[in-house]
Amino acid sequence: MKGLIIIPAFNEALNIERVINSIFQLSLNVDILVVDDGSADDTIQIALATNKATVLSLPFNLGIGGCVQTGFKYAIINNYDFAIQCDGDGQHLASDLVALIKEFSSEDLLIGSRFLSKKQTGFKSSFFRRMGIIWFRFLFFIFYGVRVTDATSGLRIYGQKALKFLSKNYSDDYPEPEAIAYLLKNNIVPKEISVEMQARQEGESSITFFKSIYYMIKVSVAIMIWKIRR
């Protein structure tokens, strides 16, 4: 099966080489695609110099959603069977990535969940973050009648059918939970497996306190709106 790992990159000149190499070392037998989101630094040149990744460069900054969606479109055009988004911030444990790909057979959406197993995993999160995830769980159950334990997880595999839908419609910011709602609307039910995702090795999460308020409202509304959309 032909797989693609999509790395969205915006001004990541300092990290991109390390990220590409760390994925390459896993020898997963998948292609690596870097989508540069209009970086002002040398992200493109450094990514190209590794000779291990295909590099797409957007003419201007589209934000994370539009950036990753470019990767989905690339995957569809080039006939990949599945695609994974990989943010190069060390949050995705290499072993999780390997486990996820190993588990994948031909599902349309396979999510690596941090909350599926009862035992304490290495992942620790703040009280508010946990509350948020429980809230999303509630929303998905009420509106779609499905159990999604970790809707915010970015560690997920999209199959061809899901990629086709998402290349048509993918939210600009914080797209992960909304993508599940959109796919559910199109009769694609996610399957979850347990992963151990480590806490961030370095750097701050992209979601700060004030942004998290916007995040909660925006994503909640989006999940509900997909239910009533035609």
């Binding site: 590099v55 797409l56 957007l58 589209l62 479109k73």
Partner: protein
């Protein structure tokens, strides 16, 4: 009834202002700075202004109909409603354009890769 045909100063100013707006819109259409599709909305607004400005009883009639005591507030109400609708139209257009620009950028990124690879192969 007769009084509605006698113009006072403010009415003259209002009519002149509306006509000026109409001429401005026509000129913008002529110079192709305004797409006909959106120009239509502005043309209707200009014509509405001219009608309202020249017929004082009309606005009084509308106010009575809506149960508004002070006639000019009926005019303001209509105006604000019109502005809201235009803003809504703008947001719709903006959303559509944003989506299209995004798609274009993504296509450009992929086409760039294709042409680069083709050059290498040649």
């Amino acid at each position: 009834m007769f009084s509605s045909f006698i113009m006072n100063r403010v009415q003259v100013v209002a009519i002149l202002g509306s006509i000026f707006l109409l001429l401005l819109v026509v000129e913008l259409i002529r110079k192709q700075q305004l797409k006909e599709k959106y120009a239509l909305v502005w043309l209707f607004i200009c014509i509405f202004f001219i009608i309202v400005a020249s017929m004082r009883t009309l606005i009084q009639f509308i106010a009575d109909l809506l149960g508004i005591y002070y006639a000019p507030s009926a005019f303001l109400l209509l105006l604000i409603m019109g502005i809201f609708l235009i803003l809504l139209q703008f947001t719709i257009i903006l959303s559509k354009m944003k989506e299209r620009i995004k798609i274009l950028a993504q296509e450009v990124a992929m086409l760039n890769l294709v042409t680069k690879t083709n050059k290498k192969n040649e």
